[in-house]
């Protein structure tokens, strides 16, 4: 099966995946990386919406899907 890549905020509750790419305004991309949201890490959707809550390891983040930065996730099958 071909892994499909979608924006992070489109994950369903409980669905998880690996961050494939973070693109957009470079300052924001780096800020996300500083906070631990960067390519290669596993994320899980805790509560979808705008803002949504996602989990990375023991960390929980509130994220608002903004046009300035796009987090793409390769969904676990």
């Amino acid at each position: 099966m071909v892994a499909h890549t979608i924006p992070l905020e489109m994950l369903q509750t409980g669905q998880s995946g690996q961050i494939a790419d973070v693109s957009g305004e470079s300052g924001l991309v780096r800020r996300l990386a500083e906070m631990g949201l960067r390519p290669g890490v596993s994320v899980r959707m805790v509560q979808p919406g705008r803002p949504c809550i996602v989990a990375v390891e023991q960390q929980r983040y509130s994220l608002r899907g903004e046009s300035e930065a796009l987090v793409l996730v390769e969904v676990d099958s």
């Binding site: 300052g27 500083e34 929980r60 509130s62 608002r64």
Partner: protein, 776 residues
């Protein structure tokens, strides 16, 4: 015996790592708080000892990274490099990390190692991490990084001694070699970039670039930041200092790096995480499975679309009630205490300027500062509790959707809501917003929220000029509707104001669209109380002194330059007379109150005849007293009219005439600068009523222009209310804005824009009312 030299130790870490708890555990309650000059960052220094060594422990704001985007974020770098005049360079840096999320926390630790200063790494909450299946080999980690690694449980005060020992141990060590995180081409460009650093090295392009290996740690660190932080604070400074050619040089430098395979700034994260992975190889491991924690279960309820919102609303209602009603008895107590002290002053100091200065100027001024404390303490008790247990971030999450519509984030909600009770604690509480632009926007619109000090003004105007009309069987009243309209006016106006501020002054930086939600935990009472105490103390010391000074100034303006000796003599006579008729005076008060209550209970009722008759008799007995009292009041009104304040009121009459006001209202507005509710008392004095505020509505209704027209029409009443709803006529708020924004120009801006809004609003409503109901 000689005292060993004082050590300066800086404490740094990611947010939610228990840094504040560790700071308090290490320094006790003896922390000095203040602001770094020109910024909104809180300066916190704990005076303590490690062993027998005196230590200044500097607490720096929680941060994920040392990449200054603004002057605010530059403060931490300046402290660490010893670039601030009154703070020596730290001898040791303590970096606290959350043991259950070592990988991300080491990002900041890596940057700190780059400073080349002695460093101690603190693994906090390692016990929790191990319960979750994380294993860390401390000794191996210490070997890898070349720094001591210490485990603590800050909330239980465990591990503090070994931390102190480790700090003392590394304190004497010289500079250390920073880790090699960046590749050679990068280091070459850094050396080039150091030429543009403002205040370091030779100015501009004439100087040859130093060799990369010859750079000191400070130069290298700043050079890295200048190169890596595109559009960051250092670049702004360098361009300002060296002109557009610096921007061009930096751009070319970054292009060369991109061509060499490390694009700026994204490659910093890649390189640093690569370095971290190297360091943690064989040192730490984490479990493959993710257990559902207590925090997750709690979050399902507290961040739920409906249940979460209901719980949030109930909590906010509780806080608001506590602020609005809970603080009232304490505030009354403050005022009573003030009255008692003023009574003593009157006994000890003979009537004259000195008595008035001490009683009205100084005691009144101190009172006007202390009266804010109950609300500040209550609000910060709630905020510190909610923040420490982890709920505040959830509250911001819940309110985010609403607040983003005006360009703010959810974090602005609690400060704005608190401002409905009083803008002073509200503005102080904006410290929870770490984004500077969001914080300033919130600070600038907070005074528009209708605070409790505006209520007396609305109450007076509504009672005097709006008929008690009711519709729908008494369910909807005109007076209540007007009160609701006035109370919501400021908040409604704040929406476009905030939107405009975000579109103009605070453009460019997006509000943080990502926020960490910390794990829930039991709040630490010690930490909460320390925070409340710090806030209260900071308010009294910093804003309080300015509020007090303004009070004294306004008192002087209202007192001088007239001679008060005649009035004081009359007052003494009246006091003597009052003593001889003390009993009938007291009886009349009681009767008046009874009659008022009876009328309130049954407005159409006939009133008790016996009471009315007794009142008439008492009035006859007290005729002489009343005559003297009203003469004295007239004298006081005249003194106020001729004082500097009165003259200023007359001078601004042409300005306030378009609003339908006469000079008396102008004086009231000027005198209300120390506190809004003062306008009621000032109007009382000016209408020769003394302290008898009950007669004020009638006096206002009877007030006439020289040509015989009534001063107070419905339009004027509405214009006064709208003016007060929108104006910044509150020195305490302005002083707190000045302190919190770190620049008096923001306070001036708030005053100017709010006064302009208030003026235009009052003008519009006055003209509209005069047109709709002429002469009403």
């Amino acid at each position: 015996m000689t005292v060993p030299p004082r050590l300066t130790v800086a404490l740094l870490g990611n947010p939610n790592t228990g840094k504040s708890t560790l700071f308090n555990a290490l320094s006790g309650a003896r922390a000095l708080t203040g602001n770094y000059p020109g910024v909104t960052v809180e300066k916190k220094i704990g005076k303590t000892t490690f062993g027998d060594r005196p230590v200044d422990l500097v607490d720096l704001p929680g941060t994920y990274s040392l990449a200054p985007r603004s002057l605010d974020e530059m403060v931490a770098v300046d402290v660490l490099l010893g670039r601030l005049p009154d703070l020596p360079r730290p001898d040791v840096v303590i970096c606290i990390v959350d043991a259950s999320n070592l990988e991300r926390n080491l990002y900041l630790a890596g940057q700190l190692l780059g400073l080349g200063r002695p460093l101690v790494l603190v693994l906090n909450m390692a016990d929790v991490a191990e319960q979750r299946g994380v294993t860390i080999d401390d000794a191996a980690l210490a070997r890898q990084l070349g720094v001591p690694v210490v485990r603590t449980q800050a909330h239980r005060r465990l591990g503090l001694d070994s931390l102190k020992q480790a700090v003392l141990q590394v304190a004497g060590q010289g500079p250390r070699e920073p880790p090699a995180i960046f590749p050679a081409p990068f280091q070459h460009e850094v050396a080039q970039a150091t030429r543009w650093l403002p205040g370091l090295g030779a100015p501009a392009s004439t100087a040859p670039a130093p060799v990369a290996s010859a750079l000191g740690p400070e130069q290298r660190f700043l050079g890295e930041r200048l190169l890596l932080d595109v559009g960051g604070w250092l670049e702004q400074q360098a361009v300002q200092h060296g002109g557009p050619q610096v921007a061009e040089e930096l751009r070319q430098s970054r292009e060369r790096l991109a061509a060499a395979g490390c694009p700026v700034p994204v490659s910093e994260a890649r390189l640093r995480y690569g370095w971290i992975r190297e360091q943690l190889k064989g040192v730490a491991s984490r479990p493959a499975t993710r257990p559902t924690t207590f925090s997750d279960r709690l979050d399902r309820l507290l961040t739920h679309h409906i249940a979460g919102l209901v719980i949030f609303a109930l909590l906010m209602l509780l806080i608001f009630q506590a602020l609005y009603r809970g603080a009232q008895p304490l505030m009354d107590l403050c005022e009573q205490a003030q009255g008692v002290v003023q009574g003593w002053v009157a006994q000890w100091i003979p009537p004259g300027p000195l008595q008035s200065l001490v009683s009205d100027g100084i005691v009144g001024g101190v009172g006007s500062v202390l009266v804010f404390l109950p609300q500040i303490v209550i609000l910060f008790l709630f905020i510190a509790l909610l923040e420490d247990c982890g709920y505040l971030a959830r509250a911001a999450f819940i309110m985010d959707r609403l607040m983003t519509r005006v360009g703010l984030s959810g974090k602005s909600f609690v400060p704005l809501m608190s401002s409905f009770a009083c803008a002073v604690p509200g503005i102080l509480s904006t410290r929870v917003i770490e984004n500077r632009r969001d914080r300033l926007t919130t600070i600038l619109v907070a005074p528009l929220m209708s605070c409790s000090a505006r209520q007396p003004v609305y109450a007076l105007m509504i009672a005097a000029f709006l008929p008690a009309t009711y519709w729908f069987n008494g369910w909807l009243g005109l007076r209540e509707l007007t009160l609701l309209a006035m109370t919501s006016l400021g908040a409604l106006v704040a929406v476009p104001v905030a939107w405009l501020l975000k579109k103009t002054f605070f453009k460019g930086e997006t509000p943080p669209f990502v926020m960490e939600l910390p794990t829930y935990k039991w709040p630490s009472l010690r930490l909460v109380l320390t925070r409340v105490y710090d806030q209260a103390r900071a308010f009294v010391l910093r804003a309080g002194t300015l509020i007090f000074a303004t009070n004294v100034l306004v008192w002087g303006a209202g007192y001088f330059p007239q001679d008060h000796s005649v009035a004081n003599a009359r007052q003494a006579e009246l006091d003597q007379l009052a003593e001889t008729v003390a009993e009938p005076l007291a009886r009349r008060e009681v009767l008046r109150q009874q009659l008022e209550e009876a009328e309130a209970a049954d407005p159409a009722g006939p009133g008790t005849n016996s009471a009315t008759q007794e009142l008439a008799e008492l009035n006859a007995t007290l005729a002489e007293h009343d005559r003297q009292a009203s003469e004295l009041n007239a004298l006081r009104a005249e003194l106020l009219e001729q004082s500097y304040l009165g003259r200023a009121g007359k001078a601004i009459e042409p300005v306030v005439r378009p609003l339908g006001w006469d000079w008396r209202i102008g004086v009231g507005v000027l005198a209300s600068f120390p506190a809004r509710e003062v306008v009621v008392g000032t109007l009382g004095t000016i209408y020769s009523l003394g302290s008898d505020e009950q007669g004020l509505p009638a006096a206002l209704q009877a007030s006439r222009w020289p040509d015989g027209r009534r001063v107070f029409t419905l339009g004027v009443a509405l214009s006064v209310m709208v003016f007060f709803a929108l104006c910044a006529q509150c020195v305490s708020t302005l002083m707190v804005i000045h302190r919190e924004a770190g620049d008096w120009r923001w306070a001036l801006f708030a005053f100017v824009y709010m006064t302009a809004l208030a003026y235009v609003g009052a003008l519009l409503v006055y003209r509209t009312a005069e047109w709709l109901w002429p002469g009403a």
